[in-house]
Structure formats: structure tokens, C-alpha cells
């Protein structure tokens, strides 16, 4: 605690008093400044594919066509070529976006929710709850992901839901730790102390004071986790533990193209590019969000 006066440092630029400042609109406008255009566009494209696959894809992704196998990409009927079963690669990519994007976002959402819950409860309640939950986090961190994934999927069978749960419930620990340190920092702040002194119950503190102030961190973590989840799903599918075939997933497409790497390069390359672009787009968006909400410009 400062002993004698600590005036606001000179190097912090004083904020102009704005005549208008509604919460959401001004926030949105300022947030979108300097956004990585390509990444955001790609994310929007991927989401569009996921939501409107039947409208965007020209061909059925599952129906095989023995006559059209292994056509190279070109400006013909199949823009990106066909695979070994005659299925249009482009359409499979579009349908595959469904799986990857859905799994990516849902898994990030599941792990985010679980992690935040644990972080907030342990950060606000402290005491035994905190100790138990933190040791639980440590325990989960020690689990070998792949082994557990194999175990769960072989016990419960492969399905979209199971994949989301496996990824979601094994990746919440990053959230828990990071958010918990945010929560601890917030609970030390004077405005929380004053709310407590005024008689606020923990529920009010969490809802009014903690949650709104961790939204930023959550957003950043969330976009980064989407990338991780996509890669994890692709890996699981590659190993045959993901969504069941013949549902197209970019990971499955990679798996099936193993034998054709040297003969039909378009089989593995396009799904590979798609995965890379999706992960890059979400990471860059996460980076930008983190810079944008940089503490030296943040109000907190």
C-alpha cells in the first residue's frame, strides 16, 4: 500500500469524458478495431458451412460413385477433385466443417463452462472447496489424454456427443487455472471488498462483480481452445476414435487418404489446409482479442 500519495502515473493517458457511452454499442465498435480480417472472414465462412452445408455443397458427401474415383482438382465438375470412393472433396470439406466447427466450439464451450465454474467456486469460496477443486484440477492434468479418450470411446462408442464430451471434459483445466487467478485478483479489489462490507452474498458478488470482469479472459481463452479442440478432434478421427464413418470429418478425410498421399495429393492436402486455416484463424483472432484487451488499455 502506498505510504504517501500515489497519483495516477503521468504515462497513463487521461481518458476524455465522452458525452455518450452506452455499454454494448461502444464496446462492440471499439472492440472490432484492428481485427484480423482474413481470420474473421474464414471463421465466418467455416461457421456458414457448418450451419448451411446442404445448401452450399453441390454433391452428397456420402454417396459413392465408382465411376468418378480419384479425379484430380480442376475447373471441371469437381473443383477439388474426388476421393477414392468418388465422393466430391469440396462437398466433403463443407460437410466436414460441420463436424470440426461444431466439435471445436461445443468442446470449447463445455470445457469453458466447467473450468469457469470450478475457478469461480474455488476463487470465491476459498477454504476446503478451493483445496479440493485445485487438487482435482491437478489430478485431471495428470491424466494422459489419449489413453482416456481411447478408453471412453471404446466403452461408450464413437459419436459426436461422446467426442465433444471427451474433449470438453479433459481440457477444462487451463480455464480453471487461468480464470482462478483472475478471480483471486478480482476478489482482492476494493469494489468487491466494499460489496462484501455492504452485506452482499457470494452469489451477488459472483454475478455482478466477478463474471462481467472475466468475460474478456474467457473470450480469449475460448478462441484459443477452439483451435485446440479442432486439432484434437481431427487427431481422434484420424485414429478412428472420432465421429463414426462415413460422416465426413476433416480428420477422417486425412485418415482415409493415407495410402494415396503420393498418388492423389489432393486427398490429404485439402483437409489438411482446412484444419490449419481453422486453427490459425481462431488463434489469430485470440491473439488479436488478447492484444485488444491488453491491460494497459483495459480499464480494469
Amino acid at each position: 500500500m502506498a505510504r504517501s500519495a500515489t497519483p495516477a502515473p503521468e504515462l497513463v493517458l487521461p481518458q476524455p469524458v465522452t458525452a455518450h457511452s452506452t455499454g454494448l454499442v461502444a464496446w462492440g465498435r471499439s472492440v472490432l478495431r484492428g481485427a484480423p480480417v482474413f481470420s474473421l472472414c474464414f471463421l465466418i465462412l467455416a461457421i456458414a458451412c457448418a450451419l448451411g452445408a446442404p445448401l452450399l455443397a453441390s454433391y452428397d458427401p456420402i454417396e459413392t460413385n465408382r465411376a468418378q474415383t480419384l479425379l484430380p482438382p480442376g475447373l471441371s465438375a469437381h473443383l477439388l477433385g474426388t476421393d477414392h470412393l468418388g465422393r466430391d472433396i469440396l462437398s466433403r470439406l463443407v460437410y466436414g466443417a460441420r463436424i470440426s466447427v461444431t466439435v471445436g466450439f461445443l468442446a470449447a464451450f463445455v470445457s469453458g463452462t466447467v473450468g469457469t465454474l470450478i475457478a469461480v467456486v474455488s476463487g470465491v469460496m476459498r477454504g476446503w472447496a478451493e483445496t479440493v477443486l485445485m487438487r482435482l484440477t491437478d489430478a485431471f492434468l495428470a491424466l494422459p489424454f489419449l489413453m482416456v479418450a481411447v478408453l471412453v470411446v471404446s466403452l461408450l462408442g464413437p459419436s459426436l456427443v461422446n467426442v465433444v464430451l471427451v474433449i470438453g471434459l479433459l481440457r477444462w483445466m487451463t480455464y480453471a487455472r487461468t480464470i482462478r487467478s483472475e478471480v483471486l485478483r478480482l476478489t482482492e479489489m476494493d469494489f468487491v471488498r466494499l460489496a462484501r462490507a455492504a452485506g452482499a452474498r457470494p452469489r451477488r458478488i459472483i454475478v455482478q462483480h466477478i463474471l462481467p470482469n472475466i468475460v474478456n479472459t474467457l473470450l480469449v481463452l475460448g478462441t484459443l481452445e477452439v483451435g485446440s479442440a479442432v486439432i484434437t478432434e481431427a487427431s481422434l478421427s484420424f485414429l478412428g476414435l472420432g465421429v463414426p464413418r462415413p460422416l465426413p470429418s476433416w480428420g477422417t478425410m486425412l485418415a482415409e487418404s493415407q495410402t494415396y498421399v503420393f498418388t492423389a495429393w489432393w486427398l490429404p492436402v485439402f483437409p489438411g489446409i482446412a484444419i490449419t486455416l481453422l486453427v490459425m484463424a481462431s488463434n489469430l483472432t485470440g491473439d488479436w482479442l488478447r492484444d485488444r484487451l491488453d491491460p494497459t488499455r483495459r480499464q480494469l
Binding site: R3, S4, A5, P7, E10, L13, P14
Partner: protein, 341 residues
């Protein structure tokens, strides 16, 4: 603000001429230092007093070339011992830092690296600038620690910063700053993080060090009551300008700028209780949106029309080396009068 011409033998140690430092941000230009001139003579202490956002820290950072990102000296001159610094290269200024100019900054804990011992940190400038061997440097460090009144310096040389109290850390920082016997010490709010009694001890120490080494000190603070015994000259900053400058005693007892006068009135003085403190209306200005004319006019009781428009008032020289930037003092301008008192 240049004091009256001195005989050649007393050339100033540091001379700052019409310094302007601006910070270029996305939302506009912040005129952090907007035409500041002053001198520091060898062995003298200059107090730079002002609130946050008044330009005093940015002035020091300009001299040290330690400006934050986006900040740039746009015009003016800084002359240290005859050498001009604004146009000098980065390498030249780096050589001067630590050797000719020592600095003590506000947060002593942040100034000391937690993974190195005191001996290493205080000794490093000695090894670098004076090419001493580490053994000789450590001996000198013990001497320096003794000078700054650290108890049992031979043992403390091997301690880590976290093992010391706040007051001791500040003294160690000061030892590091004076290690190479700099001609000028810049102390930026060195006592802010200290207890009141520790503060006094430290200020006494600074005065003793000055007596012993003969160095000049630029003492930056927002607390005008601290400059009381220490400073020979006082420079009052407001809104990026130097609004008043002169011998400390006179500025404090007979301030010529309305801001200085109002500030002194508004501070509670121990032993002189008053029912109500006269206060200055309004708030310190936003350097990114300075008003036209004098930066103080929105809060000034005696503002004239010319205070509100155009450029800030120029420097008027008063008797006895005092200077002020205020239209109200225009008629007292003594520039035509010959020589010094």
C-alpha cells in the same frame, strides 16, 4: 526559462531549452512537455513540482532518453556539460546514463532485479562504466552502502532485494545511482512508496550525499511540502509548462503564479489548523485536450481575456532570477533591467 546570464565560469551543468516532447497516440497528440526551459548548476538542487500529467516526469525521461513508445522529443535542446543530447545518438546517451547522470525512480522494488544480489546490481555500472574488476567493484559497493547508511554493508552485499525493507531498498537504489559519481542525479518521486518517517530519513540522506559528492540533484515530486529544506531552486509544472521558477524560499513565501499560490494555500499545514481549506476548483487538464491560452485559466480566479485565447503566456523574467508564465505579471517583466541581484 533561462536565468539571467551567468559569468562564464559558472556555466550550467544542465541546460534545457524550449523542450517539447509529444506523445503520438491514435486519438491524437498529447503535448506532454510544451516548451520547458531551465538550468541546473553544479552542486545545486532543483525541485520539479507538479501533479500527475504536468510534464515533470516526461521532462526527466526526455533528458534520459527513456521515453515510452509513441513519445518523441519534437524540438528543443538538452545540453549536458556542453554536449547537446537531443541530436546525439542512442549510444552516446546510453554512455551518459549511469555515468554522468544517475537516476533513482519511484518504485525501488521494481528497480532492483530480484534474482541478483545487491553487490551485483550496485557493482554492475562500476564494472561497465569504470572498467573495474569485480573484486574492486564489490569493495566500492561496500563503501557506497556505508555512505547510504545501510547497516552491516559487508553482509548486505550478498543479500537479495527481497531480504531488505522498503527504505533500505530505496537507499540501495540510490547507491547504485551514485556509484559512478555522476554529476547529476535525477530522483523521480523517490519517496512516494515510503513511510513518512522513512521519507524524512531518506531526504536527509540525499542532502548528505550531495554535500559529500557535490553532485547536482533534480528532485521530482508532487508533494510541494517535501522540497522545503532540500531544494535551492524550484520549478513548478502545470499542463506541460513550467509556470514558475525561482529560488525555493521566495517561490514558497511569495508565489507569483496563481497556481502556485492556490496550491500552497490548499495544502493543510501541521500546526496551522484552519476551518476550511481554500480549494482550487476544477481538475488538472487533460494533456491531449489542452485549452487555448494558459492551461490554468479554467481554474484561475484572476483569469483575463488574453489568458483564454491564443498561445500560453510567454516567460516573464522577474527580479532576482525568478520567472513566471502569467499575463498578470507582464508589467513586472524585468528583462530590460541589467544583470542579476
Amino acid at each position: 526559462m533561462l536565468p539571467d546570464a551567468q559569468p562564464a565560469s559558472a556555466a550550467p551543468l544542465l541546460e534545457v531549452r524550449d523542450l517539447r516532447t509529444h506523445i503520438f497516440t491514435r486519438s491524437g497528440v498529447v503535448k506532454a512537455v510544451n516548451g520547458v526551459s531551465f538550468q541546473v548548476r553544479a552542486g545545486e538542487t532543483l525541485g520539479l513540482v507538479g501533479e500527475s500529467g504536468s510534464g515533470k516526469t516526461m521532462t526527466c525521461l526526455s533528458i534520459l532518453r527513456l521515453l515510452p513508445r509513441g513519445a518523441r522529443i519534437v524540438s528543443g535542446q538538452i545540453i549536458l556539460q556542453g554536449r547537446e543530447l537531443v541530436a546525439a545518438s542512442e549510444a552516446t546517451v546510453e554512455r551518459l546514463r549511469g555515468k554522468q547522470i544517475g537516476m533513482v525512480l519511484q518504485n525501488a522494488l521494481a528497480a532492483l532485479d530480484p534474482v541478483f544480489t545487491i553487490g551485483t546490481q550496485v557493482g554492475e555500472p562500476l564494472v561497465m562504466h569504470q572498467k573495474m574488476s569485480w573484486r574492486a567493484a564489490l569493495r566500492r559497493v561496500v563503501e557506497l552502502l556505508r555512505m547510504v547508511k545501510v547497516v552491516a554493508p559487508e553482509i548486505r552485499v550478498h543479500s537479495y532485494p527481497h531480504e531488505l525493507s522498503g527504505g533500505m531498498r530505496q537507499r540501495v537504489s540510490s547507491a547504485a545511482a551514485i556509484g559512478c559519481a555522476p554529476a547529476l542525479l535525477i530522483a523521480d518521486e523517490p519517496t512516494t512508496a515510503l513511510d513518512v518517517t522513512t521519507q524524512r530519513q531518506y531526504l536527509d540522506l540525499l542532502m548528505e550525499l550531495q554535500q559529500a559528492t557535490g553532485m547536482a540533484i533534480m528532485f521530482v515530486t508532487h508533494d510541494i511540502s517535501l522540497v522545503g529544506n532540500m531544494c535551492d531552486q524550484l520549478a513548478v509544472f502545470y499542463g506541460g509548462l513550467l509556470v514558475e521558477y525561482g529560488p525555493r524560499q521566495q517561490v514558497l513565501s511569495q508565489p507569483s503564479h496563481p497556481y502556485t499560490a492556490a496550491l500552497l494555500q490548499s495544502i493543510p499545514q501541521l500546526g496551522e489548523p484552519r476551518e476550511r481549506l481554500p480549494s482550487i476548483a476544477g481538475e488538472p487538464p487533460d494533456l491531449g485536450r489542452l485549452p487555448a491560452g494558459c492551461p490554468f485559466h479554467p481554474r484561475c480566479d484572476a483569469a483575463l481575456d488574453e489568458c483564454r485565447t491564443g498561445e500560453p503566456p510567454p516567460v516573464f523574467t522577474l527580479a532576482q532570477g525568478r520567472q513566471v508564465r502569467c499575463w498578470l505579471r507582464e508589467q513586472d517583466d524585468d528583462r530590460s533591467a541589467a544583470g542579476s541581484p
